[in-house]
Symmetry: C2
Subunit: 226 residues, 2 copies
DNA sequence: GTCTATACGCAGATAGAC
DNA sequence: GTCTATCTGCGTATAGAC
């Protein structure tokens, strides 16, 4: 019971912590530590401390640091793409879909604000993670199973219809999606930079995001008016 | 002369390399290595190899790894914000300014595509970097000297005028800037993710960015039509 | 200024008792 | 399954010759 409440480091990990089994406690701790320190910067001892278990146990449950890091990466990636992937593939009308995706993203990141930065860092420094991302996503019921990307095709179709109906300017589907995701994710990934440049503290950032929840949908949908 | 042309790792560092003095060679090498491996993941030996000098020399010129990392961070930060900061503060008309900023960003990143990811990682994992960013920027002739942010104030004024003239929808200046930067920077920061999800190789990504150069200005300006 | 050789600590991983 | 103790290699940093 050495485990302290731990200075709220990377917001709440997905799974519960109280009387959970050791493996979960380790994974949750690793989740938090890897997110704030990066894989290379994190120390196994740090994870053990945060989990309130012995360092040797990390190796008992997860062979090596690299395997533990991979497990955490998978969990974070799935957590990020799950809802949004489902929303993107759903049959909802396009404008409403955009609103739902923005709301889902901003809402989720308000709870796990460090996930975007973690994923970006991890994939930039560890090239294999790109492939791992796809298998992680392909294995679950989310985005891309198989070689093509069904949700992109579906999106393209929706866009095409709307353009044909004269209700939207033409836009390449990948650019559509890249714009949408950029606007949602970047402020979280670049949070320290934004906070520095805009002179915001944690509260200021929260307000900034709150305002964004209302301004972003109209901004994005406006950009696509014919 | 152990120095190989080195497999184009992080695109060309700012300064030249050929017969330069040792300190510059080290800084350039550190620039490249820190960018692709991150500060924590990088090894001093790796930097020495890339610079074609002895490992001990790194400590001769830059005391410690941390100091070397700080020097690189400063250089990258200044390089990224210099042009854009100047553009943002210039007296150019707002629409034209937006076009110039987008062009400058996409053009610059086409040459140093890993800079955004590096900066984001560095600032997420190394909290002190936020302050360092501001001093680095404040020292140069770019963005924020003093406590306030002149370029934000100037931007706010331009927006206000345009809104008053009925030529633009109202938008909070910080949201304006956040949107602009997000759309420009994120695709580079999240490049491995985009390439994986969109099934793009390096060439495909280049094309994607090329298309973005034309589609992004109209997208952004369109979003602000009244 | 540049090199070789080396000191020193730390972090990942294992052995083995309980 | 969980712990203590320990091994091992690696990475930063320094000492000191040239």
């Amino acid at each position: 019971m050495v485990k302290e409440p731990s200075p709220p480091p990377t917001a709440a990990p997905p799974t519960a912590e109280p009387g959970d089994d050791t493996e979960s406690k380790i994974l949750d701790a690793a989740h938090a530590v890897f997110m704030r320190s990066g894989t290379a910067g994190a120390r196994m001892q740090e994870i053990a401390d945060e989990a309130g278990v012995n360092k040797a146990l990390l190796h008992y449950y997860f062979r090596s640091k690299e395997r533990l890091a991979a497990a955490v990466f998978d969990r974070v990636a799935r957590g990020l793409f799950a809802r949004v992937g489902q929303l993107a593939m759903s049959e909802v009308e396009l404008e409403e879909k955009v609103r739902l995706i923005i709301a889902a993203y901003l809402d989720q990141f308000a709870r796990t604000p460090y996930a975007p930065g973690y994923l970006i860092c991890e994939m930039n420094q560890h090239p294999d993670r790109a492939g791992q991302l796809l298998t992680a996503l392909g294995g679950s019921t989310t985005v891309s199973r198989g070689p093509a990307m069904p949700f992109l095709a579906g999106l393209a179709q929706q866009i095409e219809q709307r353009v044909a109906a004269g209700r939207m300017r033409p836009i390449e589907p990948r650019q559509f999606l890249a714009n949408l995701v950029s606007l949602c994710v970047f402020p979280f990934a670049a949070r320290p930079m934004l906070c520095a440049v805009f002179r915001m503290d944690d509260g200021g950032f929260r307000e900034f995001i709150e305002e964004r929840k209302t301004s972003l949908p109209s901004f994005f949908l406006n950009a696509l008016r014919p």
